[in-house]
C-alpha cells in the first residue's frame, strides 16, 4: 500500500528556516504572499491532494483512459475531482489577477504542484498543461486573445495543451510540417496537420480544449526559424467569450503507455481548423523557449513528487513489515520477526531515497525563489542575475531530479520485495509513472547538452558564475566551522573538482564538440550532486542552529543532520567516479564505428 501525507513540515522548514520566504512578500505584487499565506494555502491544498486526488491514483492507473468514437473518457472519479479542483480556484493560483488569477508566487505554485503530482501525477497533467497554455498566451498573445482565452483557461472551465511533436519530429522541431494558411481575416489561419503525444489533447473534464500549435506558414524559412505559434481551439469562442461552433480538431486515438495511464496522450488531427497567430510570424520557437524553462522545472518536481510518495510508502512498510532478524541479533523478541528497518541495506535504500528527495526539494525551492525574484525584483541587473541562475540550474533540476526519482521509486519498490512488483500495492505504478519524467520536456540527454552546449558558454560563462560565486563563498566560509565543517568540507572538495572539470571541458569542447557532448550527461550529474552538497550543507547549518532550542522538535533536526551526513558520506562520492569518467574523454564513446554497433 502506498501512503501519502503532504510534507508540510518540510515545506515550512525550507520556506521559513532555510530560505527566507519573507523575501518573496517583499517583491512588488506579492505582498500577500506571507509565510502565513503559504501555510494556509498549503494546508488546504494538502487536504484536497490527500483526500481526493491520491485515492484516485491507483484505480486511475488500472482503468486508464478510454478512446471511443473520437472521444476520450478519463477514469472514474476524475471529472468530479477536477470540478472540485477547479471550483477551489487551484487552476488560478499563479495566474495574472487581471484575468481572474490569484497572482501568487511561483514558489508557492511549486509546492502545490508537488503535492498534486505526489498524489496523482496523471491528474496533475490536465491543469499542468493548461497552466503552460496560459503562460504562452499571457506572454505572447495580444489583448484580444488574452481576453478571449485566458479567463476560462485560468478558472479551469476550459483546458489547454501544447502541440509540438509530430510523427517525424520530436526533439528536432525544425522538421514541423503542420501547415498554417492565411485567410482574409486578420491573424486568422487555417491549420492542417497531425500532432502526436499531446497530453490532455482530448478528454471529458472541460467543455473546450485550447491547443497551442506549432505550424509553418507557406512562405516560412526552413528549420526552427520558420515556425509560428497558433491558438487552435476545439470549439471556437463566440464574441462574448462563450463556447461556439466545433472547429476542425479531432482526436485520432490515444497511446497505450508504460505509465501515467490516466493522462490522455493523444493524436490530434487538425483539418483546415481555424487558428490564430500568437506573437510574431516565424517567432514560434522563441515563444516556446520562454515557456520551456518553466515546464522543465515542473517536470523536475514531478520526479521529486513521486520520490516523496515512494519514500513515505517504503518507510511505512519498512517499519511494519516483519521479516528476518537483525544481523546483530534479535531486536524485537516479542515479535515473530524484526521489522525491515533493522537491516542496514534497507536503511541505505531509505536514506538514499530521503537524501535525494529532501535535498532535491531544497534545490528546487532555491531555484523557484530565484524565479520569483527574476520576475519581480525592481532592479534590472538583479532580475537578470536571478534569471541566469534559474537558466543554468533548470536542466539540472529537470534531469537530475528525475534521474534520482527513478532510482528512488525503484528503491521504494525494492523495499516492498515481491509485493512491490504487484500492481495492487501501488509501488510499481510509481516506477512506471516516474519513467516518463526522464523523457518528456526534453529527454535528460538533451538537458545535459543544454547545460554543456548552451548554458555553460553563455555570456562567457556568466551563468556558471551565478552559481559558482555564491557557492564558493558560502562553502569556503563554512569549511572551517567546527560543527559545520563535516558537511561543508566534502561539499567544497567536490565543488573544487567541479570547477576544474568545467574548465577542462570548456577547453576540450572548443576544440572538439564531441568531447563536451560525450561528457555532458556525466557532467550534469556531477554538477547536480555538487549542488545537492551545497543545499545539504545549508540545511545542516539550520539544523545545527535549531536543534538545541527545538522545543520537542530535536528529532526533526537530528534527522536532517543524519541525512546530510549520509549524503556527504554515501552519495556525494559518486562525483569521484564521474570526474574520473569525464577525464577519460570522448574516445571510449566514439571509437567504435557506427556500422559495428
Amino acid at each position: 500500500m502506498t501512503v501519502y501525507r503532504a510534507p508540510l513540515r518540510d515545506y515550512k522548514f525550507l520556506l521559513e528556516e532555510v530560505f527566507d520566504v519573507g523575501e518573496i512578500a517583499k517583491l512588488p505584487g506579492y505582498e500577500e504572499a506571507t509565510a502565513e499565506t503559504f501555510a494556509a494555502v498549503l494546508a488546504e491544498g494538502a487536504k484536497l491532494c490527500e483526500e481526493v486526488l491520491f485515492p484516485l491514483n491507483l484505480p486511475g492507473d488500472a482503468e486508464g483512459c478510454r478512446f471511443e468514437n473520437g472521444v476520450v473518457r478519463t477514469p472514474k472519479g476524475f471529472k468530479e475531482a477536477y470540478d472540485l479542483f477547479r471550483q477551489g480556484g487551484w487552476t488560478a493560483l499563479a495566474a495574472d489577477p487581471h484575468y481572474g488569477g490569484q497572482g501568487l508566487p511561483a514558489t508557492l505554485n511549486f509546492f502545490v504542484s508537488e503535492m498534486v503530482a505526489s498524489a496523482n501525477l496523471s491528474f496533475g497533467m490536465y491543469p499542468g498543461l493548461t497552466a503552460g497554455a496560459v503562460e504562452a498566451i499571457h506572454q505572447h498573445g495580444d489583448e484580444v486573445q488574452k481576453k478571449t482565452w485566458l479567463p476560462k483557461l485560468i478558472d479551469g472551465t476550459w483546458s489547454g495543451t501544447m502541440c509540438l511533436t509530430e510523427p517525424q519530429c520530436g526533439t528536432d522541431l525544425g522538421q514541423v510540417k503542420t501547415r498554417a494558411v492565411p485567410t482574409d481575416g486578420d491573424g486568422v489561419y487555417r491549420i492542417t496537420g497531425t500532432k502526436i503525444f499531446i497530453s490532455a489533447g482530448e478528454h471529458d473534464l472541460t467543455d473546450n480544449i485550447v491547443h497551442l500549435v506549432l505550424a509553418r506558414l507557406p512562405d516560412a524559412p526552413s528549420g526552427t526559424r520558420g515556425i509560428s505559434l497558433f491558438i487552435v481551439p476545439k470549439f471556437l469562442a463566440t464574441d462574448d467569450g462563450a463556447r461556439g461552433p466545433r472547429n476542425g480538431v479531432r482526436c485520432g486515438g490515444i497511446e497505450h503507455k508504460m505509465g501515467i495511464k490516466a493522462s490522455a496522450t493523444c493524436v490530434i488531427n487538425f483539418d483546415d481548423a481555424q487558428g490564430y497567430l500568437v506573437g510574431e510570424k516565424n517567432g514560434g520557437m522563441r515563444a516556446m523557449f520562454t515557456m520551456m524553462n518553466a515546464a522543465r522545472l515542473g517536470v523536475g518536481l514531478q520526479g521529486l513528487a513521486l520520490g516523496e510518495t515512494a519514500y513515505q510508502s517504503a518507510r511505512t512498510y519498512a517499519l511494519e513489515r516483519l521479516q528476518g532478524r537483525s544481523p546483530t541479533g534479535v531486536k524485537f523478541p516479542d515479535k515473530p520477526a524484526d521489522p525491515l528497518i533493522v537491516h542496514p541495506d534497507i536503511r541505505r535504500m531509505l536514506l538514499t531515497m530521503r537524501a535525494y528527495t529532501e535535498g532535491g526539494r531544497a534545490l528546487a525551492a532555491w531555484v523557484m525563489q530565484a524565479e520569483d525574484k527574476a520576475h519581480r525584483l525592481t532592479d534590472a541587473d538583479e532580475r537578470a542575475a536571478n534569471d541566469e541562475l534559474v537558466g543554468l540550474l533548470t536542466p539540472i533540476v529537470k534531469a537530475m531530479l528525475t534521474d534520482n526519482a527513478f532510482l528512488v521509486t525503484n528503491l521504494g519498490m525494492q523495499i516492498f520485495g515481491g509485493h512491490g512488483y504487484i500492481h495492487d500495492n501501488g509501488m510499481e505504478q510509481l516506477v512506471r509513472d516516474c519513467r516518463i519524467t526522464q523523457i518528456y520536456e526534453g529527454a535528460n540527454g538533451i538537458q545535459a547538452l543544454d547545460l554543456v552546449g548552451r548554458k555553460m558558454g553563455q555570456h562567457t560563462g556568466r551563468l556558471l558564475r551565478r552559481f559558482f560565486h555564491p557557492v564558493d563563498q558560502y562553502l569556503r566560509a563554512k569549511m572551517s566551522d567546527p560543527a559545520l565543517g563535516e558537511f561543508a568540507l566534502p561539499a567544497y572538495r567536490a565543488f573544487g573538482r567541479l570547477q576544474q572539470t568545467t574548465a577542462l571541458l570548456a577547453q576540450k569542447g572548443l576544440v572538439n564538440p564531441d568531447e563536451a557532448a560525450a561528457a555532458a550527461a556525466e557532467y550534469l550529474r556531477a554538477f547536480g550532486l555538487v549542488a545537492l552538497g551545497y543545499v545539504w550543507t545549508r540545511i545542516a547549518e539550520v539544523a545545527l542552529a535549531k536543534r538545541g532550542m527545538a522545543n520537542g522538535e530535536a528529532a526533526f533536526y537530528d534527522a536532517k543532520l543524519a541525512t546530510a551526513r549520509f549524503y556527504m558520506a554515501k552519495l556525494l562520492p559518486e562525483t569521484g567516479a564521474l570526474f574520473a569518467s569525464i577525464g577519460s574523454g570522448a574516445k571510449p564513446v566514439m571509437e567504435l564505428a557506427a556500422e559495428a554497433f
Binding site: T37, A43, V52, Q102
Partner: protein, 249 residues
Amino acid sequence: MKLLVAVKRVIDYNVKIRVKSDHTGVETANVKMSMNPFDEIGVEEAVRLKEAGVATEIVAVSMGPAPVQETIRTALAMGADRGIHVETDVELQPLAVAKLLKAIAEKEQPQLIILGKQAIDDDSNATGQMLAALLGWPQGTFASKLKIEGDTALVTREVDGGLETEALKLPALITTDLRLNEPRYASLPNIMKAKKKTIAKLTAGELGIDVTPHLTVLKVEEPPKRQAGVKVKTVEELIDKLRNEARVI
C-alpha cells in the same frame, strides 16, 4: 440571524497518536494540527445557513495559545465572517470553555450556537451540554439534520430506535454529528479573503472567567496491546476456549 460556531484545534485525525514518555499527555510537538472534524461540520452547517439566507453573520470562536488563530482562519476561509480568539496558555477543560463561550454569547447575542458533539482529542462530549445549561438555552445534541423555521430550530438526531426530531425555540444550541453534512474544501480565493477578515483577541480575564482546571490528569497510557490469536483444531476446542478461557458462553 447571527450564528456562533466554536472551533477547536486538535491533533489531525490522520496522525498516529504517541503518548509522551513521562505519561503526562500525548506528543504534540512536530505533529500536524487541524480543526476538530465535528467543528468543521459545525462551520459547514453555519455557512450553508448563511448561503440559504437564514443566517446573516457567522462568528467563529476558538481558545488557546496563538496558533489556534490558524484554526479560526480555516473557519474564515470556509465562510465565517469574523473570529474571536480567547488567548490563554492554560490547559482548557470543558467547563472553562463553556463558561468562556457563555461570556462571549452574552456579548454577541447569537440566535444559534453550533459546536461539535465532541473533540477528537479528549472525546469529552461535554462542552455543548454545559454551555446550554449555563445559558439556560434548549439544546439539540448529535444533530444529523438541522432546519430553521421562523424562531424554531428543527433538529434531527440519530437515536437507537431511529430518528428523533426535536423542535427547539431560538436562541438554541446544537452539537453536530458526523452525518449532518460533508464539509467543503476552502477555495483558494476564500483562503486569501480570510486573511483580511478580523480576529478579535480577548483574554479570560477580560471576560471575567476563571479558567483554572478542576480536573487533574494522573496518567496517560497507550491502550493495552492486542494479543496474538491462536488457531483451534476442533469445534470442541473452540467451544471449550469460549466457555473456559474467554468466558463468553
